[in-house]
Symmetry: C2
Subunit: 492 residues, 2 copies
């Protein structure tokens, strides 16, 4: 099967269809929308072994991982469908009239309404969960927005099978023509045409900084700028506090050797920087971590472009002044295999060298040795925005270092205590997103049902007759929503 | 008293102070923050007649209006302080651990945290409510962000008195040095330096499209782009449906003559476009509206720049093909007085002429005559984003025209039924903001306590020990917040 790039004319016709589908789709009931999303989950399951085998061929990811990831994607679709139906994302708010006030206060009600067609650029490292039927697609569909997915060029067959599953579900659920579309494009121009199209009202993206920043810049050059939610990865620093390290050195080293090499390091939450304070315990930690890493076999990366970038960025990091290789796994047998690697440097070198702040996507981690706590605080303060930051600490030393805790809070979207950043739970309290450049909009995240909010805006209805109001705002609360009524949460 | 522009060096020093104040201020209790905001309200009252008289001199606004506006500003400060204390804006969310899950689900909790120092550019038309101690300042302070206000060059004395009130309250409440700063600047460079400063983390603005767009563009040119909440006004279209117009013609004309000329038309919600369908009723409406307008005396605008722009933009509109003057109020006696004016044109002319879509800031309104309902729908579809849109309709004809209702919903932030857009109630369900270019970010509004959310981002805490968690997220709920616990609202 060959994948021909869509033409600019075809994209225009697809966007016109999506625009026509929008008023129909936005007016579907929450019930119908949730059923559609659940039907997509069923079709993904129905896609059976063929889908798994196709993804294995295109991504080099192992079968168990891909079966697990499909399960996660199905869980996402079902749980966002449940959230869609529960309707808390509508943020329905009612202030009833106070005619005796001077001037009289009118009846005003507010709820979230969908923005319009959403263009989704999926990631290569999660061919299911952050791709064609991934979190962005599920969130946008829950919000009432038609979705246009540009297939990731690294897994077009997988993307096509998933797109077909979505289209089958759309037909079965009698969704309007144009509610979903799938586009092929390897050229720069296709992405640009999609972002610049006047009927595109928001963009979801998971991938590199270069890619996300480009979409963001295009969007801001539009006559009508639109929100771009680009999750662009990060180095996910881990701060090792001295007492904790002394107590649990070997255990932490083992835990992190696992986290660094999980999925060949191809996670946006991979811990790329580990920051400690010079001590015998830190020396021992570096030694233990290096030893553990050497024993972990190299594994295949997603595609040639990614292994090439890994090798180049790792080599560049190792060439920097004061950066030393600690350990590397035994040599690879396949040209796609990435060698897990640990290097170390001083905080002085790190603070002076912006290159060391950049992500090396893959199983690579750099241990930064600080002279003292003051320098550890400085390292935290000088870091760019991150998806996650982790602190390994005892309760006592945590409380003694408020300045460090403050600095870490400022740079991350998720703050982890005594654990690892890999593993992104799909739940309401998850925040997957962080201060720039981790993502383009730190006020939103791309995992968990709160991500639906990215594709909505509030609309207030003033002085409306109850019969004419949308169901979510009617006096009798037919959808049985939790609403804010005259400043208090209420289900009545 | 002379106002010298701050230098770039002074701005840098002020921003450094704000950055140092941030970790202290963000860690104040909700109680202390609310007390600070209420103390500002008290000091505004204490500023007494001097404040009113100074504002009268600088803005030409009448005394009663300014006393009313100060009252509104005090109400805003108090009500956002109450909202700050109530803490719903924290969106505290808890998902407890499920250790038996595969893989085990960790405990994750999420809440809103402040972004950092916020730069506020106030408006000239609301010297209190949307200026130095206005909604943006109150929202940012509630969120835990230090605020830097650039005084509006049209009312520097008024702004200084208000800034002094804020600084007095800060001292009395022992707030950290740098929690608030006041900057003078008439040059372009001052605004740019404020938006581009690395310690600025968000911008609030109320004013013209040109001004807001410039701030937005600067922000996107930063190494770290930041959110800009620019409320840039709109033409606030009013759609007259035939049955309603036939029934209530004279009454609607009278109501709108009042709304168009309220405050010399200097409201961002001023109705600048009125759209009807050709009929005897519409002819009568235009006649009645013109007659009513003629009887309304001209009143003074804010300053020379604004009256000049009003005269020029009105003249330009009247020069367009197919645009006809309907009525103008009797001639002005003062050079600052704006003549209330009604003009009319056809939908064909409107659809072909982008100039007629632009705001004429002041007491001017253009009546657009459509051939039929299809053309009215087309007019709605072709409009840019608006703060408000209004429909004058009977229930029966509303229900018969879903396409029009759909088109209007798509272009506005607040949708009003059988009333006027002027008058912006301060409450939770208000949405003051709309699709671009009404504002730069339609997902947020600048009136009502939900505006606090503009200056926050979610931060997730994973695997934290209860003792170390922020109060808002502790098991025992010491702040007695409404929280989302395992997907359900709860106060326990």
């Amino acid at each position: 099967m060959q994948f021909k790039d869509h033409t600019i004319e075809e994209i225009d016709s697809i966007m016109n269809k999506a625009w026509k589908a929008f008023p129909i789709y936005r007016n579907t009931s929450l019930d119908d929308r949730a059923s559609f999303m659940k039907a997509i989950a069923v079709e993904l399951e129905n896609a059976g072994d063929e889908l798994i085998h196709t993804a294995m061929q295109e991504t080099n990811l192992p079968e168990a991982r891909l079966r697990g990831e499909r399960g996660r994607t199905i869980f996402q679709l079902n749980s966002y469908a449940d959230a869609c139906l529960q309707g808390n994302w509508l943020a329905a708010t009612i202030d009833t009239a106070i005619p005796e006030k001077t001037p009289p206060k009118p009846d005003i009600r507010k709820m979230q309404v969908p923005l319009g067609p959403v263009v989704v650029f999926g990631s290569s490292n999660f061919p299911f969960a952050y791709s064609t039927a991934g979190g962005d697609t599920a969130s946008a569909l829950a919000a009432g927005c038609p979705v246009i997915v540009k297939a990731h060029p690294a897994h077009p067959h997988t993307s096509t099978l998933v797109a077909n599953a979505i289209l089958t579900a759309a037909t079965k659920c009698k969704m309007p023509d144009g509610v979903f579309a799938h586009i092929y494009g390897t050229s720069f121009e296709i992405g640009k045409a999609l972002v610049m199209h006047p009927y595109t009202k928001a963009v979801g993206f998971t991938g590199s900084f270069t890619g996300g920043k480009q979409l963001f810049d295009w969007s801001n050059q539009r006559k009508e700028p639109i929100p771009v939610f680009a999750e662009m990865g990060s180095v996910n620093p881990v701060f090792l506090l001295p007492d904790k390290l002394t107590t649990d050195c070997a255990q932490i080293a083992l835990m992190y050797a696992g986290s660094i090499t999980l999925g060949a390091g191809q996670f946006c939450t991979n811990p790329g920087l580990i920051i400690g304070i010079e001590s015998a315990a830190l020396q021992k930690f570096i030694h233990d971590l290096g030893k553990a890493i050497q024993q972990i076999a190299a594994s295949k990366m997603l595609h040639n472009g990614i292994i090439k970038a890994y090798k180049e960025k790792k080599a560049a990091a190792l060439l920097q002044e004061d950066v030393h290789l600690v350990a590397e796994s035994s040599s690879a047998v396949d040209s796609l295999e990435a060698l897990p690697t640990i290097a170390t440097t001083t905080a002085n070198a790190f603070l002076q060298n912006p290159l060391l702040h950049q992500e090396v996507f893959g199983p690579f981690s750099l241990v930064i040795r600080c002279q003292d706590m003051a320098q550890m605080v400085e390292v935290a303060q000088k870091m760019e925005g991150q998806l996650t930051a982790t602190i390994m600490t005892s309760n006592a030393e945590f409380s003694k270092n408020p300045e460090l805790v403050e600095a870490i809070q400022n740079i991350c979207g998720r703050f982890i205590l005594n654990s690892v950043p890999t593993g992104v739970e799909v739940c309401l309290s998850m925040q997957h997103g962080g201060p720039y450049p981790a993502s383009t909009d730190s006020r939103f995240g791309s995992v968990g049902a709160d991500g639906i909010g990215r594709f909505c805006r509030p609309l207030a209805f003033q002085n409306w007759h109850n019969d004419l109001l949308p169901a979510a705002l009617k006096d009798e609360n037919p959808l049985k929503l939790w609403r804010r009524v005259n400043n208090e949460p209420s289900k009545n």
